[in-house]
């Protein structure tokens, strides 16, 4: 079949600007995008730089953006992306500096992983035999441990895009792997650290990492879990905590979301500047006839909702 690839080129050593180069070639029906790229490098253009190794979605070195979203190119068949031989755009991963063409500098990625101390920290000295952990306590970690550190999630993370200090999905998922491991004794310290320091509360819940991860790690879901664990450990002085709590309260009270109350409580009763800021936004909205926020709508028979909220929230402990 025909393959048309529009590949992003960039060579800082020769001071070139970023540009796209179009390659057309014939490939096998079963070809992956990686096969096509390698063929380009071998037959058409030896200057094209790319990184790959296992060609079987194990090593995690071939992460790239295909038509705007991050993928392992060795796992992505060309026919699935461009069944009619349409043009396919291939770019290096996002949120990382480009070294050349499709090769990015993974250092920022590894620094973040190191930041969460990705190793077991038990209190006691080593046991006689092996560490014992029950099956149930480990099975839910299997998917997290599948991470191959390919950086796809980091590439497409929308929070990282605006704030490079955010620890990011891969490292946070890795952190969860230890927070939730029964053999690790430093969960509380870990959570304390992640509760601040551009950690769990800076995720926007955009699902990009869940969508692009080739290994089903679902970093965002781990981050949400850690938010809840941090709260349970008593780390409550965050707007994130107040926001969540107030949201649950609001639904419990009226069955609906009361935006005005939510805003007030999340900003916090002690944050004078935040409140003044909020008052301005509120006034602007009022002038525009967006009055309803201060007259919240109740769901009909909202007592039923209240009952459910109380029961299940309490049942959780």
């Amino acid at each position: 079949m025909k393959a048309v690839l529009d590949v992003k080129r960039f060579d800082p050593e020769n001071n070139s600007k970023e540009y796209f180069q179009k390659y057309e070639l014939e490939v096998e029906e079963s070809s992956t995008i990686l096969d096509a790229l390698i063929k380009i490098r071998e037959d058409l253009d030896g200057t094209l730089a790319l990184r790959c190794s296992c060609r079987a979605s194990i090593c995690g070195s071939c992460g790239m953006r295909v038509n705007g979203s991050a993928k392992l190119v060795c796992k992505t068949r060309l026919v699935d992306i461009a069944p009619e031989g349409e043009k396919v755009q291939v770019e290096p991963l996002g949120n990382m500096p480009i070294i050349k063409d499709l090769v990015v500098d993974m250092n920022p990625f590894w620094n973040k992983v190191q930041q969460v101390r990705p190793f077991m920290m038990p209190n006691n000295t080593e046991p006689e035999g092996e560490y014992i952990a029950s099956n149930e306590s480990m099975t839910h970690l299997v998917d997290v441990m599948n991470c191959i550190m390919c950086g796809a999630c980091v590439s497409d993370c929308t929070a990282l895009e605006v704030d490079e200090s955010f620890i990011g999905p891969a490292a946070l998922a890795k952190a969860y792997r230890f927070v939730a491991d029964p053999r690790d004794d430093k969960s509380k310290d870990r959570l304390k650290y992640l509760n601040k320091n551009s950690g769990v509360w800076d995720c926007t819940r955009c699902y990009a990492c869940v969508e692009v991860c080739p290994k089903g790690v679902a970093p965002m879901e781990r981050i949400m879990k850690m938010r809840d664990l941090a709260i349970e450990e008593g780390f409550k002085n965050t707007s994130g905590y107040r926001h969540t709590k107030s949201f649950v309260n609001s639904v419990g009270k009226s069955g609906r979301l009361d935006e005005a109350r939510l805003a007030l409580t999340s900003v916090g009763f002690f944050n004078v500047f935040g409140l003044i800021d909020l008052a301005f936004v509120g006034l602007k909205a009022l002038v525009k006839g967006k009055l309803p926020p201060i007259l919240p709508h109740k769901a009909r028979e909202s007592e039923n909702i209240k009952k459910i909220v109380n029961k299940i929230e309490r049942g959780k402990g």
């Binding site: 705007g68 929308t158 929070a159 895009e161 605006v162 704030d163 955010f166 800076d202 819940r205 955009c206 990009a208 869940v210 969508e211 938010r227 809840d228 008593g234 409550k236 002085n237 707007s239 926001h243 949201f247 649950v248 639904v251 069955g255 609906r256 979301l257 009361d258 935006e259 109350r261 999340s266 009763f269 002690f270 004078v272 409140l275 003044i276 008052a279 936004v281 509120g282 006034l283 602007k284 909205a285 009022l286 002038v287 525009k288 006839g289 967006k290 009055l291 309803p292 926020p293 201060i294 709508h297 009909r300 039923n304 909702i305 459910i308 909220v309 029961k311 299940i312 929230e313 959780k316």
Partner: protein, 386 residues
């Protein structure tokens, strides 16, 4: 006549009344009959789920069960509601035991969900149930020459396995398709399926506003006349905070009108702009509207003047009272932290109740409760007035 159970969502009934009002007009023109699910709870918007996923699922499956009882599919006008309900549905459908667990919570109310309800955003209904050809028959005005930047909202595009993209692949481009059907052009820009920043607005405002500025700025640079979104939460951020966001991050003016999907349809259907609530936007839509419908009435007739004034006075005095109280508490809080260390204060807030007013921390707690009560009273008084 097509019939649906209507789930408007909290924001359409709260902070974005123009969405609700324009949706009703548009649904009527489309010949869609709806029954509003007024007993349904908030979907939780993903926030409730992060604290307690089961609670979120129970509330959403409850909503689906109401619709199932009426034998109707659900229509939503909110990307977030769509996504959160689809996810809940997806979770129970692939796990019958979990469905049973959820149902056991619903039985008290006489409900049981069997798994047959379909949840569909108006955007998808336009394409799948009505068809773009039929849709075009309702259009009276060609929007040729205008450029609209589509902004989907995360939850209507991810996670794709819950959203039925493999059976309905056109859903991924639905907004582009609908914009094209009005005769207008689509402004393609890199932010169209990214996060608007709303979920962290109250948590990390700086990051949130950078997102607003990036997306609206890029769309503007690429020549968009307005941005169209099927998500009222995105609208709250992109519209409400665009001024500040653009000033802080790009040093320019927030001037890109953010319009709701039904407002776009309404314009194409020739509905008068004032009835679509265009005056209720924070970023002015005036120039945009006068370029589309020159000389047409723009302002909402039902301007809540009195209500607005009262509301402003009420809101103003509340804020004043709060600030005074805050000043006092700042001092008390400092004392407390000085006396008992870092976590004592939040601890007291979490554990307070009216009953024991013995120590200073408890006084503060009760005051906070009183403030909340006053807030509630204020609201009920205002509610009874209008």
């Amino acid at each position: 006549m097509k019939k649906y159970a209507f789930y408007p969502g909290c924001v359409a009934r709260g902070g974005a009344p123009e969405l609700y009002q324009s949706s009703l007009l548009v649904l009527d023109k489309l010949g869609i009959e709806t029954i509003e699910l007024d007993k349904a709870a908030c979907t939780g918007a993903g926030v409730l789920q992060e604290k307690n996923q089961k609670l979120g699922d129970v509330l959403n499956i409850r909503t689906l069960a109401f619709a199932e009882d009426m034998n109707l599919p659900i229509i939503t006008i909110c990307s977030t509601c769509q996504g959160v309900m689809s996810q809940a549905n997806h979770r129970v459908l692939k796990n019958p035991e979990y469905l049973e667990e959820i149902n056991s919570e619903l039985r008290e109310e006489g409900l049981e969900y069997k798994g047959s309800t379909e949840v569909k955003h108006l955007l998808w209904i336009l394409i799948e149930d009505i068809g773009l050809n039929e849709l075009q028959k309702t259009f009276k005005k060609e929007l040729k020459g205008f450029n609209f930047a589509p902004f989907y909202g995360c939850y209507i595009v991810r996670p794709s396995d819950a959203l039925g993209f493999s059976e309905n692949p056109e859903r991924q481009h639905s907004l582009d398709m609908v914009i094209n059907s009005t005769g207008a052009s689509v402004t393609d820009f890199s932010g169209k399926t990214k996060c608007c920043g709303f979920p962290i607005l109250l948590i990390n405002q700086k990051n949130s506003l950078k997102m607003v500025s990036n997306h609206t700025g890029e769309a503007k640079d690429k020549g968009a006349d307005a941005m169209v979104t099927p998500c009222p939460l995105c609208h709250l951020n992109l519209d409400g905070y665009q001024g500040k966001a653009r000033k802080d991050n790009r040093g320019d003016k927030g001037d890109l009108p953010i319009i709701h999907l039904p407002q776009l349809l309404g314009l194409a259907m020739g509905i008068e702009p004032y009835r679509l609530g265009f005056a209720r936007h924070i970023v002015s839509t005036k120039d945009f509207i006068s370029s589309i419908s020159p000389g047409e009435r723009y302002s909402d007739p039902q301007n809540f003047n009195v209500a607005m004034l009262l509301g402003m006075i009420g809101f103003g005095s509340l804020i004043f009272a709060l600030i005074t109280a805050i000043a006092a508490f700042f001092i008390l809080r400092a004392i407390l932290i000085y006396e008992w260390g870092d976590n004592s204060f939040t601890h007291y807030i979490d554990t307070c109740s009216f009953e024991n007013i013995f120590i200073i921390g408890k006084y503060i707690c009760s005051f906070l409760e009183v403030t909340e009560k006053v807030w509630d009273w204020g609201i009920s008084i205002l509610t009874s007035l209008f």
